[in-house]
Assembly symmetry: C2
Amino acid sequence: MTGPSETIFLVDDDGAVLRAVSRLLRSAGYAVRGYPSAEEFMAAHHADTPGCLVVDIAMPGSTGLELQEWLFQSQSSLPVVFLTGCGDVPTTVRAMKGGAVDFLTKPVDEAELLGAVSAALQRGRLLRNKRSDRARVQALLNTLTAREREVFDHLLTGRLNKQIAADLGTVEKTIKVHRARVLRKLGVSSIAELVHLAERAK
Amino acid sequence: MTGPSETIFLVDDDGAVLRAVSRLLRSAGYAVRGYPSAEEFMAAHHADTPGCLVVDIAMPGSTGLELQEWLFQSQSSLPVVFLTGCGDVPTTVRAMKGGAVDFLTKPVDEAELLGAVSAALQRGRLLRNKRSDRARVQALLNTLTAREREVFDHLLTGRLNKQIAADLGTVEKTIKVHRARVLRKLGVSSIAELVHLAERAK
DNA sequence: TATCTCATTGGCCCAAGGTCCAATATCCGG
DNA sequence: CCGGATATTGGACCTTGGGCCAATGAGATA
């Protein structure tokens, strides 16, 4: 169920919490890495790392919310579970609006934490799958020349070669050639597949 | 900006709050209807009503969370803003996970409430637009006979008439006729448009 | 029973797409 | 200046799709 190198990143300024939660998650079979501050985590994090983040809200230096915002800006795909001792309603709302998977309060129920982590990992998998699929399609589209890309766009709207030729100020025969190249480069053999491919790109 | 009959539904067991918030929203130009209990609101509500719901969490009878769950079960498109005096973190998390637009605490800042209501109304508009569009497409698809629907599905995957005929155990000519009927019934003139139409249905 | 819908099939013709061939012109980097 | 990539165009040939007319058979319904 767990991916090859999924890691739970744990950020908490309280060393005792860090050790306790870390031990709990490890005993559940997860790979865990702990950080005593948001800064140290940020220095080590890369955007496409598989796993999830479990983070305290109130910390010296960057807070959990700031870390969440930083992940968003970094286009990271790492889902966030908040774990805090002193949560208030406005903070909870901000965290959840910001896309947090869950917002738990200490002392945390063991099953609750494991459930949240499991959900976060699952969400991360889906997100990474979607992203990598999209990246593959984008890479394919980037192999098209500018002209082929124009033809591609017209094909998506269902226009005939003749019409595309008129739009682009050339003749049908030329479009026919571009069309064939577009289909071959993108590895599809019908307009239906072409449209489905385009859907995956956005 | 505000739709023709958008209404803000206000549910709070405290008559004073009901009157005060109601006056505030009305003075901002909104149409408001107040209910002293979730039950009375539920009795009057229909799933496609345009507007949004502003509801207290703690009430005698059904609570705000129960009302939110009821709206979900009813497939209502009404976005929810919670407004409460005694919110705790777990409740906030449940509400936000349940799709709430916002979760505000009394005494509420006027601008905050107006902002949340505006966001909720906007979300409701998008949701209703999406739903009605989907319903239109579904209605179109329902005009297809069972056989036409089969051909439709195969067309979406980009198969040739000849191949579809083999799959369905008939000859190409028959598929050709079905294909033409499908395109005409759905009001499209190309496979690309057909695929786009199908995308809108789900 | 008569009518209607639906699925089926045929023929015919034309339009459009797919695939070979080859050729010319431009532009860009080595 | 030359080779490579790109855009362009032409021809020939075959396949596929679209429209039109006509017809049959099954099943449901009035």
